[in-house]
């Protein structure tokens, strides 16, 4: 993909120099320049493949401690309550 952009290094000198950002210039010739209906497929497969490899989250038994009033603000308390509610659903036995 070629996207109209600017020279990042020139920014440090206080100038905005328009340049074209060219991604994928390093790809070999045999590699297809895939058309737009395939974009999501590529992005999804790569993201899923990397994220599924990351280790499982911490044991959830520690989460209820967050409801004991030690929150920095109201939104943190709200998020923790929602998380607690949702985990009950996620952790429910599957059939």
């Amino acid at each position: 993909v070629t996207i109209p952009g600017f020279d990042v290094f020139a920014l440090f000198t206080g100038k905005i120099v328009p340049v074209q950002w060219v991604f994928g210039y390093f790809m070999p010739d045999w590699w297809p320049k895939i058309s737009w209906p395939w974009f999501v497929f590529v992005g999804c497969v790569v993201t899923l493949a990397i994220s599924v490899l990351s280790p499982p989250r911490k044991a959830r038994s520690s989460l209820p401690r967050n409801t004991s009033g030690r929150f920095r603000n109201e939104s943190e308390r709200r998020v923790s309550l929602v998380r607690l509610f949702a985990l009950r659903i996620v952790d429910a036995p599957v059939n």
């Binding site: 990397i50 994220s51 599924v52 929602v82």
Partner: protein, 482 residues
């Protein structure tokens, strides 16, 4: 010959357009008069009938890019190749209805990215919501350029001797955006739903009427159409994209480089629609307005089935236009393919109907823009304003923040649309559909990846690594794509 700007026929068209604009704004303001809190503003208190939700989905998805861009694809290819992709849009809706909708209802989310907070943590949510805000502003901004395009066609018709420049586009873009932002900011999702219902009806009526008029206007009617296209058997609906004359490797490469193929329809388009209808706040929010998840699923599947006849109708308009302009002598063609349908409407359609169909073009544009503005405002308010800027905000303050966000996103869209208009002015053969949908494709694969991980697994994935995975996903698309 163009008419004098102030003659009676143009006055009638202008009155039709004014009635439309006045009516749609009044309806929007009336529908959203009782928004008491952010839930009313974003989900309409979950009281929207499922059939209205389906129309909302249809109207929001059928943007001006579809109204003007799809006929341009039909005009250019003289076939229904683009329509193959509908296979994927229907398949994907069944998958989303089965996997995505219920968790959203179970988790009682207003911004769907709250699901990621619950499942992974705030880093994943912030990244996903940021991707959505950035991509939607770009995507809808590019579509809004077409608002300028139709204004330019009208301008050229009224004042053929005056030059067309970027300013002409900008005025059209600003006019449509300001009007839409106004009723969306005040009325919220209820305004969006009820105005979109009117706009969906107007859009469908417009395109059917255009087909009828075109067949009548082509000398010899359908017989001439058949002859000009080389017979009905030569009109192509599907293409595999596989060139058997090439060796396996080059043939495979060529197939992935061709946008409208069967494999792209079944795999690429399915995942694309899963991303746009399962992980995009703009599309999912309207499904969440239904009273329960069953009705939401019904609404989603119905809107998918409505997709097929609508896309075929728009492509038919494009194919008929290509025949019309090749068999009727002495007609001028617009400089850009994107303007072909708009050009026909303004120059060839009868009075009153011309006003109605131009209203239909504006209807599609305003329908998709209003839904996107509401979703952007909701996502910003729920994902960034309430957690980080003002956690203790009251309902009134949250609604005010959402309204201000609506206006800010409206301004950003005007800037993007102006840049798109500038690009088309420099390259008149640029068609808008690949740009408008391609922009979503760059980033939405990463969104779909983390949502699928969250929906399909119970424990895999972690907050920080998800962000890295999303960046890798976006980078890989930018590296592989045209």
């Amino acid at each position: 010959m163009p008419e004098s700007p102030f003659n009676a026929r143009l006055l009638i068209d202008a009155i039709v357009l004014l009635i439309y604009f006045f009516g749609i704004v009044a309806l929007g303001l009336w529908a959203g008069r009782r928004n008491a809190n952010l839930r009313d503003f974003s989900l309409g208190g979950r009281s929207i009938p499922w059939w209205a939700g389906a129309c909302l989905d249809r109207a929001a998805e059928t943007s001006a890019a579809t109204f003007l861009g799809t006929p341009a694809e039909g005009f250019k290819t003289r076939g229904y190749f683009y329509g193959q992709l509908v296979i994927g849009t229907i398949l994907a809706r069944f998958v989303i209805a089965a996997t995505f909708i219920k968790p959203y209802y179970d988790y009682r989310v207003q911004s769907i990215y709250e699901f990621l907070t619950v499942r992974f943590g705030t880093k994943t949510k912030n990244m996903a919501s940021g991707i959505f805000l950035f991509t939607r502003v770009l995507g809808i901004g590019v579509r809004l350029y077409l608002g300028g395009a139709i204004m330019v066609v009208i301008w050229r018709y009224l004042f053929p001797t005056l030059p067309v420049n970027l300013n002409t586009y900008v005025w059209g873009i600003v006019f449509v955006t300001v009007l839409t932002t106004f009723y969306t900011a005040v009325g919220g999702i209820k305004a969006v739903v009820w105005t979109d219902l009117i706009q969906a009806v107007l859009m469908i009526a417009s395109v059917l009427f255009a087909i009828f008029l075109l067949i009548r206007a082509i000398p010899g009617g359908l017989a001439t159409v058949q002859q000009n296209l080389g017979g009905v058997e030569n009109i192509q609906f599907f293409q595999s994209g596989w060139n058997s004359e090439l060796a396996f490797g080059p043939a495979l490469k060529a197939m992935f480089e061709e946008p409208y193929t069967l494999l792209a329809a079944f795999v690429g388009s399915t995942l694309l629609t899963m991303a746009t209808h399962g992980t995009d706040q703009d599309m999912v929010q309207r499904m969440l307005t239904a009273p329960n998840y069953r009705k939401s699923q019904l609404s989603l599947v119905l809107s998918g089935l409505m997709d097929l006849p609508i896309v075929i109708a728009f492509l038919t308009v494009g194919i008929l236009l290509s025949v019309y302009y090749s068999v009727v002598p002495g007609l001028s063609l617009p400089a850009a393919d994107n303007e072909i349908f708009g050009h026909y409407i303004v120059h060839e359609m009868p009075v009153v109907f011309r006003g109605l169909i131009i209203a239909g073009v504006f209807a599609t544009m305003m329908g998709s823009t209003s839904a996107a503005l509401n979703a952007l405002a909701t996502s910003f308010t729920k994902d960034f304003y309430l957690p980080y800027i003002r956690p203790e905000a009251s309902d009134r303050q949250a609604i005010r923040a959402a309204r201000i966000a609506t206006a800010v996103f409206g301004v950003l869209m005007i800037i993007v649309a102006t840049l798109a208009a500038n690009a088309v002015l420099k390259d008149a053969k640029l068609t808008i559909i690949p740009i408008a949908i391609g922009i979503l494709g760059y980033t939405y694969g990463a969104l779909l990846g983390v949502f699928l991980l969250g929906m399909l697994t119970r424990t895999r994935g972690a907050d920080g690594p998800n962000v890295i995975a999303m960046i890798a996903g976006i980078t890989s698309v930018l590296s592989c794509a045209k």
